[in-house]
Symmetry: C2
Subunit: 352 residues, 2 copies
């Protein structure tokens, strides 16, 4: 699989972010000519330091994916486009729905239209999310699960998922969509609040603080280590023919959240976790237990998660202990309005 | 039901359009104090003449629903908001996806946020579409049918549907969503291309032309007469407690398209229809046969379609024969780019 990327030009959107940077680093090591596109939108986890060690071996374009016309030549030259740009915070999306719509839907629409124009038929591997399925009625969740997002982030990630599928059904793109469960590991944006409970747990543990678990702690989650996740992207990007266009990606174990907290705190020698009532804001968008049916991706792409949760947490702690302490610094939510106008490229009026 | 609207202030978005104007006229006759909001976006079917006869009895606000802050006082004063603004053309949406996203998703998001702010808990009855279900795998289609839109219009109408449901689950709105099958009748925008096959058939028949049926003509459709459709909106707006939030609305008969064409042409004394191969552009977004399971709306809202297709077509022909001939004038698609800038009200940047 790795040899499939040797000397090939690969574009990674959101390549300064958590999963995107892990993917970019691996692609560089696999001998690919990597171009990262990332506009470092505040709150989305982009960090130049994520590319430490490979910065000289790839190129970073500081651009919004919605302005893809500006880097159309890069699209044309790319063998595969890994599309990981976006906002993942459910909490941000509930506080600023229009911002989430702009980042996760409108920008994706403009980007994919430009891909279809400049690089017709190109393979685009998209980082979608289990959040599009909402609150599961049965477990584990497979790809035929009804679409029922419970927050704005899920609605807009679903819209972008549908854009990928629609343009592929029209043979204008060759998209592969990965619906990701909870991903964790090195290069997570631990300092940004609202990025999911695993980052929160890791930060607390690294700072020697007590992890707070909301609710009774019995909800299941199946965390996926980021290296395994990167494998799934590489396999989807390299597969010759796609039997499907969507695959759910989940971890090796479905664990109660309380046990996840206990494993993290024990590994970091932090105090034992405590249970706390759900804050109202989080309760409203909570999705209950979740676990992933990975049958399809195992059978069609030959992927399975290899790293146990305990192993993945040990590697994550090791990584962050070598990093400067400000990567852990918890900051409060602090919206800073900054208006930005964007011309509507398509006509609002149609003479008919 | 009609008495439920007497003297109540009712807001109708898209009230100059096809279904919206029929609804507004009925509300005026029911004694409601009606405010129509419509920005007459070209290509969406708004026509001042649709309100002929009641223009003096209601108020029309010329505003984009996305700018709802400008008429927040009207939202606050409204007992019920009927939300019918939008672009319904699948063909337009495929040619101008970003325009469709702006009209059907972004504007709706801004509008609903303003409703939730200015009129928390207000009943909003939304005109959604069967298009969110895409190509049916079984018939008739009920409300639990998987979401699988096959065009941009379906994706964005689904996003707006999800906004209504999400804000209702958060108790910020009290939304009722009607997923409409093919609606026809007086005040249809017959002169605008790409508004669905029924308008096309009616226009051809009224002009004495031969109706062209694409494909083998065996696909099923269950057209709903607009007066029946208006009944469904009025019932959803007046219901005290909503047992559900979505209802599929379909017609009294599922008929093959060739038969639909034959009924229309015979009623208008136009030539017999002919079968033609599908144009590629239409083929790609065709959804095959469709018929609606109306069990839920019948049981929960007491609605059923009363007008047979033959009766509805007779009334429609009668209406349009009294109208000036330019309402039938078929015009070609002729996109006229006209950029319009819109400030992003929410921060793209979040200091975190």
């Amino acid at each position: 699989m790795v040899s499939a990327y040797q000397n090939r030009k690969i574009l990674v959107t959101g390549g300064l972010g958590f999963i995107g940077s892990n993917l970019a680093v691996r692609l560089v090591h696999a001998g690919a000519r990597v171009v990262v596109v990332d506009s470092s939108v505040h709150g989305c986890g982009a960090d130049r330091r994520n590319l430490d060690g490979v910065a000289a071996d790839l190129r970073v374009i500081d651009a919004d994916i919605g302005d893809a016309a500006a880097f159309a030549a890069e699209l044309r030259a790319s063998s595969v486009i890994f599309n990981l740009a976006g906002e993942l915070s459910h909490i941000h999306s509930m506080r600023h729905p229009a911002r989430d719509a702009e980042l996760n839907a409108m920008s994706q629409l403009r980007f994919l239209e430009e891909c279809a124009r400049s690089a017709p038929g190109v393979r685009v591997v998209y980082a979608s999310t289990r959040q599009i399925y909402g609150v599961p009625r049965y477990l584990p969740v497979d790809q035929t699960y009804p679409i029922q997002p419970v927050d704005f982030n899920g609605i807009h990630k679903y819209a972008a998922t549908a854009y990928h599928l629609l343009l592929s059904s029209q043979k204008r793109l060759d998209a592969a969509v990965l619906c990701l469960s909870n991903i964790y590991g090195p290069r997570m944006a631990l300092h940004i609040p609202g990025q999911g409970f695993l980052g929160n747990f890791l930060r607390h543990a690294l700072l020697g603080r007590t992890i707070e678990v909301f609710g009774d702690g019995r909800q299941l989650r199946d965390p996926v280590y980021v290296d395994d996740t990167v494998d799934a992207f590489l396999l989807a990007g390299a597969a010759r023919e796609l039997k499907s266009r969507t695959w759910n990606v989940g971890g090796p174990e479905a664990l109660p959240v309380a046990q996840i907290a206990a494993i993290v705190s024990a590994a970091a020698a932090a105090p034992e976790p405590v249970l706390r009532p759900f804050p109202e804001e989080r309760k409203r968008i909570d999705t209950g237990s979740y676990s992933t049916d990975i049958t399809r991706i195992r059978e069609e792409l030959g992927w399975r998660p290899r790293v146990t949760f305990a192993e993945g947490i040990a590697s994550s702690l090791e990584y962050f202990r070598r990093e400067p302490p400000d990567r852990l610094k918890p900051r409060a939510f602090q919206p800073l309005p900054k208006l930005r106008r964007r011309p509507l490229r398509h006509p609002r009026s149609l003479a008919v």
